[in-house]
Symmetry: C2
Subunit: 331 residues, 2 copies
């Protein structure tokens, strides 16, 4: 890749996670769908928070987690996303800029509060996410920084943005600006229900604009409305340069044209909280990709970063990922 100032710039929902443990009975009593992300309004956020046990707060947001992982790995990174001028907005800004991420988006003074995601972690380490988007709903074409996008090797977008028309317009404009400057567009499908909500437009987007697609098994099969993962992979490789498909404990499959790499999952002594697994896989993958490393190494970096984040609470890495990937044996 050429001499771009930034390895990866992401556009996403700027969210603070509020993480509490609970059992399956709590999910049932609250009508929470396990393992997925549900959008909630402010009233529901207030009621659900009141019902939740003691929590910890930690910066989150899917694409922001990926950028945090990339910064931890030593990549030059930028982020575009909207917070409010409140305590949680200050926390989000602190945590991402403390990693050296360039974050030019100004906070919004009036209007809804900074987004929060109420995450319930069950004893099986599954996370069920309930997101009040708040200030994120403000994201529009006006927040794009054309010079920043033009300076990125890869612009990374989270599928969750596709839920709102103004963000969707920003998304498409970001694709245009990035490709005009010779950069690549990466997309994470985010969530099978997000895919269900937007299947037709996602298919068109992926075929027309996306160069690198990240999806897990549920998301990819939802995209193609099939139970056959291999058929879904075969269909996807026609649309994108690279597709990275994560399969939880079964590792990942990466396809690029006629090339295929199978990546084993990195062993974890004890899985504590799977929040951020996909986000960090993408981080590891893109770190290797923007260093022009081969697909197997991209997948291995992804597996190592994902393993770190599921071994503790929270969706941001707590260890030096650059050390972890350097210490791992070659594929």
């Amino acid at each position: 890749m050429g001499a771009k100032e930034f390895d990866v710039v992401a556009i996403g929902n700027a969210i603070v996670d509020v993480i509490a443990r609970a059992d399956d009975g709590f999910l049932a009593a609250q009508g929470i769908d396990k393992g997925v992300m549900t959008l909630i309004d402010e009233a529901r956020a207030t009621a659900l928070y009141a019902a939740m046990g003691p929590a910890i707060e930690s910066s989150g947001g899917s694409a922001a987690n990926t950028i945090a992982g990339l910064a931890n790995l030593g990549a030059a990174t930028g982020y575009i996303g909207v917070v409010a001028e409140d305590d949680l907005g200050a926390i989000f800004r602190h945590d991402i800029t403390a990693l050296g991420v360039h974050f030019p988006t100004a906070p919004v003074a009036a209007g809804p509060a900074t987004a929060r995601c109420l995450i319930v972690v069950t004893p099986d380490a599954q996370r069920s996410m309930n997101t009040f988007l708040g200030a994120c709903a403000d994201l529009s074409v006006a927040h794009l920084d054309p010079a920043l996008l033009a300076a990125a090797k890869v612009v990374y977008l989270e599928g969750y943005l596709w839920d709102r028309p103004t963000a969707k317009a920003a998304f498409l404009e970001a694709c245009r600006l990035t490709h005009a400057a010779g950069g690549k567009i990466a997309l994470s499908l985010s969530d099978p229900f997000c895919v269900d909500r937007h299947r037709e437009s996602f298919r068109a987007l992926i075929a027309d604009e996306v160069d690198i697609l990240f999806a897990n098994t549920d998301e990819l099969t939802a995209l193609h409305e099939t139970d056959d993962l291999e058929a879904a992979i075969t269909a996807t490789r026609e649309w994108v340069d690279i597709a990275a498909v994560t399969r939880g404990p079964d590792g990942a499959v990466i396809v690029a044209g006629d090339t295929r790499a199978e990546i084993a999952a990195q062993p974890v002594p004890r899985i504590i909280d799977t929040t951020g697994a996909g986000d960090l896989f993408a981080a590891g993958f893109l770190r290797a990709y923007t260093q022009n490393l081969d697909l197997a190494t991209c997948g291995r970096y992804g597996a190592i970063a994902a393993a770190e984040v599921i071994s503790h609470f929270g969706a941001r890495p707590e260890s030096d990922l650059a050390e972890l990937v350097a210490a791992a044996p070659a594929a």
Copy 2:
């Protein structure tokens, strides 16, 4: 003990912890005293936060941590402390009330923000605390709830309150109200520097008002201006009914009149963050004490609760402490 509605009611600084890892070089560069609590103003809090790495937020406050531990252990608990009407204040209130703690203190609408403690955890698991007291400075006699104090078997006070004259007055009035209702006063000395700041008045307070004293080795020897721990313990037992002295990995000594119990530290596979160790020792101790259990059992419960909290980040327990003490073999 009589039929009181509450086992323990605490009065303390209502604080949200902001916890980040750093190395000793960061402490040196920032001029932070290792292992102790330093009071900072808002400007310093802003500058230090800007210099810190990514953090997680978790409710804290010394006496509040103790009450959280007691509630986790099944005790009937109350808490008095002041937060502001902001995001961090809402987090503090949520986390303590979610445990079933009665928390009648109204938030302050105008004035300083909710208190925060910027905690730097070094690789040796030591925590260095930098506290901006903010809204806590509002605590006064007006916040005392005489009916609540009268309904408590034990009223627990943190030494940190002694740093401010209005809180000090509230502290003394709480002692008067509690003793008038036949309750006991427990005090935690909090910090050796806090003891240094107030040595003479602490001595008078302990001799005149305190029934149960919690201190670690550094605090107790600072109180008596001696290097001889045994001499400090001997002097202290003249002043209080019970003194519980924690010695880190060397366990604890409890003295009550002519009775003495030596408590071994509970083994921990890996110490991650010592924040809250003393607070949780007091929680376990008081859980057993308010159930009229013997001193050795009080100490054992304390050691088990302290071991849990130092095995993860944050000063509040993440496991079911009642299960842990029930599963432990008798002393």
